[in-house]
């Protein structure tokens, strides 16, 4: 596991690839995620961003923040455009072997709306044909860029502008859907563990095929909390068991050590600690709280069953 000191000494990881002075909100979770993803991948990366916050925070023409090739893309087209780019790099590598084209990584950084809702068809297609891309969903649990509307990644009970009394339905489990596609690498991360993000991207870079990484990125205006709590909330999400950190490599699941401890239900922090700090859960009912807790317990039972079946 890499340490902060090692990251500071590394030639690529000590630099900033997403240049400061962009229009991300103060305390933006997405920015921490992208900073560390780029530190792991380095400048030989092409990034595709479907419509999302990332699309607009990079500034107005003619200036931009990312210090590597980057393109905005239509909402539903993230994974397919990235496939096109990665195949074109292959075609270029055939004509000009031994150059940078063979070493290029294609990355997609999409929001939860652009992944779970409108982008799911393209993502499923890319996963099925095992396109050589790293697809990242940075999950702020709503359509934040357009003004905090619900997406299928919004959790039960959360207030958004289109679920004024709390969302009825539950959160779509994207990592499970992608794991069912049997792609070589699926991982979940939280921005409270940036070095874990770094490790997972480094691993994803070395694998050929479709890789999916799902990062929890709290959003100060969307989740309605003071901007300094971004990292703390991401940490609580892991501690309460709401956000298990794991990776599934070729079908085998391994839990991050902070989540491994939570296999024992008594070690999970009380859910109310996490929910009470976000005003979007301020009018959550007792029933919703119980349902959410049941859901967490149910998801962890599934994880336990998966781990047990792997031992055989």
């Amino acid at each position: 596991m890499v340490t902060i000191k090692q990251a500071l000494d590394d030639e690529v990881a000590c630099k900033e690839w997403f240049l400061p002075g962009n229009s991300c909100c103060a305390g933006c979770g997405l920015e921490i995620a992208l900073r560390w993803a780029m530190k792991a991948l380095g400048p030989n990366t092409a990034l595709v961003t479907p419509a999302s916050c990332l699309n607009v925070v990079i500034g107005l023409w003619p200036k931009t923040a990312p210090n590597f090739p980057f393109t905005n893309m239509a909402f539903a087209a993230g994974a397919s455009a990235a496939t096109g780019i990665s195949e074109a790099y292959k075609a270029k590598a055939y004509r000009f072997p031994g150059k940078v084209w063979e070493k290029m990584t294609t990355l997609v950084f999409a929001g939860d709306g652009g992944t779970t809702d409108i982008g799911i068809q393209a993502l499923s297609g890319a996963a099925e044909r095992n396109s050589n891309i790293i697809y990242t969903c940075y999950d702020n649990e709503a359509y934040m860029n357009t003004g905090i509307q619900r997406s299928s990644s919004t959790p039960h009970g959360a207030k958004t502008t289109t679920t004024v009394f709390g969302k009825e339905r539950f959160k779509k489990n994207l990592p499970a859907i992608l794991a069912a596609h049997e792609i070589p690498y699926v991982a979940t991360c939280s921005i409270s563990e940036p070095l874990d993000i770094y490790e997972k991207y480094k691993k994803a870079k070395s694998i050929e095929g479709c890789k999916y990484i799902h990062i929890l990125a709290p959003c100060p205006p969307g989740w309605n909390y003071p901007s300094e709590d971004t990292v703390e909330l991401a940490r609580l999400a892991v501690k309460t068991g709401v956000w298990p950190l794991y990776e599934i490599e070729n079908g085998t699941m391994t839990l991050h050590k902070k989540s491994k401890a939570l296999l024992d239900p008594s070690k999970r922090a009380p859910l109310i600690d996490y929910l009470s700090r976000q005003k979007r859960f301020s009018s959550i009912s007792e029933q919703a709280l119980i349902k959410l807790q049941e859901r967490i317990d149910h998801d962890w039972d599934n994880i336990k069953a998966k781990l047990r079946s792997q031992e055989k």
């Binding site: 400048p43 030989n44 990366t45 092409a46 595709v48 699309n55 607009v56 990079i58 500034g59 107005l60 023409w61 003619p62 931009t64 990312p66 210090n67 590597f68 090739p69 980057f70 393109t71 905005n72 893309m73 239509a74 539903a76 087209a77 994974a79 397919s80 455009a81 990235a82 496939t83 096109g84 780019i85 195949e87 074109a88 790099y89 292959k90 075609a91 270029k92 055939y94 004509r95 000009f96 150059k99 940078v100 084209w101 290029m104 068809q121 393209a122 499923s124 297609g125 099925e128 044909r129 396109s131």
Partner: protein, 421 residues
């Protein structure tokens, strides 16, 4: 020269004449053009294009070409945009409903000024379900910024795709293009097509993009750039859009040059590239028509001329950019100009897209022909030579009596309407 010798080793194609379907001719053209990335999704009547290309790629006849089998047409164009912006020559094919599904990405491709060539086996829009020849699908994409052309013969499909790459990849143009032909009529029938020698094609076409890619966009880590930022209304957004229209107008001359050079290299001529005239020199009455029906119209013109009438035909080869000067030139030489649309444009001044635009082009010009808008062959309805002779006779009658035909609907003659006794 080194690339040339690599060419002989990689793709061996000597000139040969094969009896092939229109779809297969499109596939051969993509192969001759050495396209680097193909993305395809099947839809009737385009399926044989993607099948043949798959055969070429999998059997190693197109070494280095990447074939992406995507899961929807929207993804087809998204992956084409991604591949083209990285600096590769790209090709795809689609039809009707698929074209409509990728409409969002068509705007994106034209706005990114990417030289993507797409073969369209045109079919009528649903509902009601229809898979036969009707150019409404391509023509309804006219405002996206794509150039579009129509093919009348199987050979023209192969030739037009090659000419398209030459125009699209010109550094002053950089626009995507449709090469459309009638679904089932050209796509699924077989005729002899000359597949040209690979070296001759390499000499005619511009070379494949090198490591630098296109001059205006590149996904190169040594020169990082970002494309697609927000631009405020007070910024240059409107001027960037103006440049797309400007490129279309400048493309007219490049299309003519490409057609001239094609004739020099391969001996086949297609008028001036924008339009192709047939027996118009002494014609009093002319018919402007496009697509496969233009080929059959030549026969109708011959038969009517045998009866002593001076008629002629103009084949419209390009709809975008619209050949305004050539249409005015034609309209000044005849008294009556019939415009036969094989497409609909609901709510437009004439109900037919090309006839509406012809009328617009002639606005303000003096002593031009009277235009009779006509629509026929919609949804792939068969149009026989007899019917085409009848259409010409209607124009002749209009010339002689000065009267409009009696059965116009909202000013347009919908020819060949079905009426059950």
């Amino acid at each position: 020269m080194q690339l040339m010798s690599k060419a002989r080793k990689d793709i061996i194609q000597d000139q040969e004449t094969k009896i092939i379907k229109g779809n297969v001719a499109a596939a051969y053209a993509a192969k001759s053009a050495r396209v680097q990335v193909i993305s395809a999704y099947p839809i009737t009547p385009q399926t044989t294009v993607v099948e043949k290309l798959s055969e070429f790629v999998d059997s190693g006849m197109m070494p280095g070409t990447q074939y992406i089998k995507v899961e929807s047409e929207h993804s087809v164009m998204a992956s084409m945009v991604g591949a083209s912006m990285t600096g590769t020559r790209t090709f795809t094919a689609t039809s009707g409903q698929g074209l409509f599904y990728m409409n969002e990405m068509l705007h994106w491709a034209a706005g990114t000024r990417l030289p993507i060539v797409t073969a369209i086996a045109s079919r009528g829009p649903a509902p009601p379900w229809n898979i036969w020849a009707d150019f409404t699908d391509v023509i309804s994409q006219r405002d996206t910024g794509w150039m579009s052309s129509f093919c009348a013969t199987h050979q023209e499909i192969y030739d037009e795709i090659l000419m398209s790459y030459k125009v699209c990849e010109d550094h002053e143009i950089l626009l995507p293009k449709f090469v459309a032909y009638g679904g089932f009529i050209l796509s699924h029938t077989s005729k002899p097509v000359i597949i040209e020698d690979q070296e001759a094609v390499d000499n005619y076409l511009p070379p494949l993009p090198d490591e630098e890619g296109w001059p205006h966009i590149f996904m190169d880590p040594k020169r990082p750039m970002m494309f697609g930022n927000l631009i405020m209304p007070s910024g240059f957004y409107s001027e960037f859009r103006l440049k797309i229209h400007d490129a279309h107008i400048r493309a007219k001359e490049k299309i003519k040059v490409a057609a001239r050079e094609f004739e020099k290299s391969f001996g086949r001529s297609y008028g001036n590239g924008l339009i192709q005239e047939y027996k118009m020199d002494d014609a009093e009455v002319g018919m402007l028509i496009y697509g496969d029906l233009a080929l059959q119209m030549e026969e109708a013109v011959d038969l009517v001329r045998e009866e002593g009438y001076k008629v002629g035909m103009v084949k419209l080869r390009h709809f975008r950019p619209f050949p305004v000067e050539d249409v005015i030139n034609v309209a000044k030489r005849v008294k009556i100009l019939g415009v036969m649309d094989r497409a609909t444009a609901f709510g437009s001044p004439t109900g037919g897209p090309v006839s509406s635009e012809v009328k617009t082009a002639l606005e303000g010009e003096e002593k031009t022909a009277r235009v009779l808008p006509m629509i026929g062959g919609i949804g792939g309805r068969e149009v026989t030579v007899e019917q085409q002779k009848d259409q010409l006779k209607i124009l002749i009658n209009m010339n002689e009596t000065g009267e409009l035909p009696v059965d116009l609907i909202h000013g347009t003659l919908w020819h060949g309407k079905l009426e059950v006794e």
